[in-house]
Amino acid sequence: MPFLTGAAICFFSGAGLIHATLRRRQGEGWTSPLQGVRWKNALVILISMLAYALLMAPLGFFLTTTLFIAFLLRAITPQRWSVVAACSILTAVASYLIFEVWLQAQLPKGPWGI
């Protein structure tokens, strides 16, 4: 099965290559999919999520969440600091209550016990 699926992937990639070559012969140009968009925003999101996953265990759920929300609110479309502070702390408290207390998920604890 792994061999068959691997072979299928190769086969259809080949089909794609031929298809694309044919279209280029017909004079179709290629425009970069990153053109005209703020792709750096997407990159920021990706990196911040990676950071969240890696920092969650050492820093604990509560602090990481607050930092994560605050960072995203400032980084993509900068909000006022009052909004940032209120949203991030509120979110952290609310999600802590929902997931840890109500749904009893085992969220990682930081050095301060939350």
Binding site: M1, G16, N41, I45, L46, Y52, I69, Q79, S95
Partner: protein
């Protein structure tokens, strides 16, 4: 008599306070994600899957099913008021719904989509009640070769109906099957492609993959663009359509329902395609086709009925054959298995309270939705006004926590982020993720059936063409694969996107 007894049993299960509560939660969440653009039913169901681990399977399934058809309702609201479809099945509703709102007829448009959805949802559940049990009885005769052929056909239909060139969809399906191979080999118990990562020994988790592909990548695409939307400021009044509007819509509703139901049953069909087809048909048979797109009520009634009817239809292959028809059903299959229930021909016999309870709860859910949606439209509009820059960190956070709490594993969160990136690249290059997800779920099942069938025939693949049911299914699949290659038909392949 037996049918009535079973239906009664279903309502007994569905109307217990606990299940009523979960049904309510499900449809409420479903409507909410339907309203929020960029968070579809697939992402929402995978988000809430971990939260159902603590409740009994019946309640869990009832809630997850509620999310699915709730989202179908909610999607129409944004289509009509903002011209942004809350999810893919409501794309066509924008055409006439938004125009109606601009003409000050937002009320009847919202009203007819709610009533049409209700009628369609109800009728499709009745259809489900009648078709699923006999189909399950028939499926008991299926052996491994039939199952394998059926799954092959399901995947082929899905790739056939996918938008864009077929090789892209097939490539996605093959990639999904490959991902499905990861983890422990069922027959020899050896590990494949696990790279000594403990989390991969059971295979790649469905939830991290789905959340990444559908949730995170969507957010990544959304933050690239300017994030303002304008909610159309209008007084929403006269939610109850008048007699004239009813007269114009009742035909489209009925036709949409029948069409949506049968397209929903087809593997790979589902809500999106049925809404497009229903709209196209109404336009063709209408006495005034030129008015479509300028705000006619038929253009709202037909697709909204069709997408809701399709949700009922889509449950049939899952509940009676154990084979999911689309990505949402694949996720629901995952939920069944996590709760220790194997959907398939034996489900009706072994877990009648689960089967009939779920079906009855869908009916109850439709009533709840009707009651909920009409008065709460004001609230949904308010939610739409929450700016996206504040909303998207919350969506991401829910994905992160949901994924983590599945197994308390950081590795799975990393897998999710990785698939977020993969999904983003797929979307940039117009590859559809739906065949991948379906193939990922079907992969292990397909591999088992294939190897069992080959054991039966001592290694000869002829067995798939010797048994009549299997031969028909295989023949259909091969036909669908060759069909687009015939130059005469090349232009005729329907171009509907998931």
């Amino acid at each position: 008599m037996e049918f009535l007894n079973s239906a009664l049993l279903g309502f007994q299960v569905a109307l217990t306070p606990t299940n009523l509560f979960f049904c309510f939660m499900g449809v409420l969440t479903g409507t909410l994600v339907g309203v929020l653009p960029g968070l579809g039913p697939v992402a929402a169901m995978s988000l809430l899957l971990p939260t159902t681990f603590h409740v009994n399977p019946v309640s869990a399934i009832i809630m997850l099913a509620g999310i699915y058809y709730g989202a179908m309702y909610g999607g129409s609201t944004t289509s009509i008021l903002v011209n942004i479809p809350g999810e893919a099945a409501s794309v066509v509703t924008c055409l006439d719904g938004y125009k109606m709102a601009r003409q000050g007829k937002a009320g009847p448009a919202l009203g007819i989509s709610a009533f049409g959805s209700f009628i369609a949802g109800t009728l499709s559940i009745v259809g489900l009640m009648f078709i699923a049990p006999p189909l399950a009885a028939m499926a008991l005769k299926f052996g491994p070769p039939e199952y394998f052929s059926l799954m092959i056909m399901g995947l082929t239909v899905l790739t056939f109906l996918a938008s864009g060139p077929m090789w892209k969809a097939l490539l996605m399906a093959a990639f999904g099957l490959f991902l499905g191979c990861m983890g422990m080999d069922n027959m020899t118990a050896s590990y494949r492609f696990t790279f000594n990562i403990l989390e991969l020994s059971d295979g790649v988790g469905l939830v991290p993959v789905v959340m990444g592909l559908f949730g995170i990548s969507e957010v990544m695409l959304n933050v690239e663009q300017s994030m303002d939307r304008t909610v159309f400021e209008t007084k929403i009044q006269n939610l109850l359509p008048n007699l004239k509007e009813w007269a114009a819509s009742i035909g489209p509703i009925i036709r949409g329902t029948v069409l949506g139901f049968f397209l929903g049953v087809l593997p790979g069909g589902g809500a999106v395609i049925s809404s497009f087809v229903a709209y196209a048909i109404e336009k063709r048979i209408s006495k005034h086709p030129e008015k479509f797109g300028t705000g006619v009520i038929e253009g709202v009634a037909a697709p909204e009925s069709a997408n809701n009817a399709a949700t009922g239809g889509a449950f049939i292959p899952l509940l009676s054959l154990g084979i999911p028809a689309n990505a949402v059903m694949a996720l629901l299959l995952g939920a069944f298995i996590i709760h220790g229930v194997q959907p398939g021909p034996m489900l009706v016999k072994e877990h009648p309270q689960l089967f009939w309870g779920t079906v009855a709860s869908m009916y109850v859910g439709n009533v709840v939705l009707l009651v909920l949606n009409l008065p709460l439209i004001g609230l949904w509009v308010k939610i739409l006004k929450v700016p996206y820059p504040i909303l998207f960190p919350l969506i991401l956070l829910f994905c992160l926590i949901g994924c983590y709490s599945l197994n308390n594993s950081v590795t799975e969160v990393l897998i999710m982020v990785l698939f977020g990136l993969i999904g983003y690249v797929f979307k940039k290059f117009q590859y559809e993720a739906a065949p991948l997800v379906l193939a990922l779920v079907l992969g292990p099942m397909m591999e088992n059936s294939l190897r069992q069938a080959l054991l039966m025939s001592a290694g000869s693949p002829i067995i798939f063409f010797e048994r009549p049911i299997s031969a028909i299914l295989m023949g259909t699949a091969i036909f669908l694969l060759i069909f687009p290659l015939i130059p005469r038909f090349q232009k005729k392949r329907p171009a509907f996107g998931e």
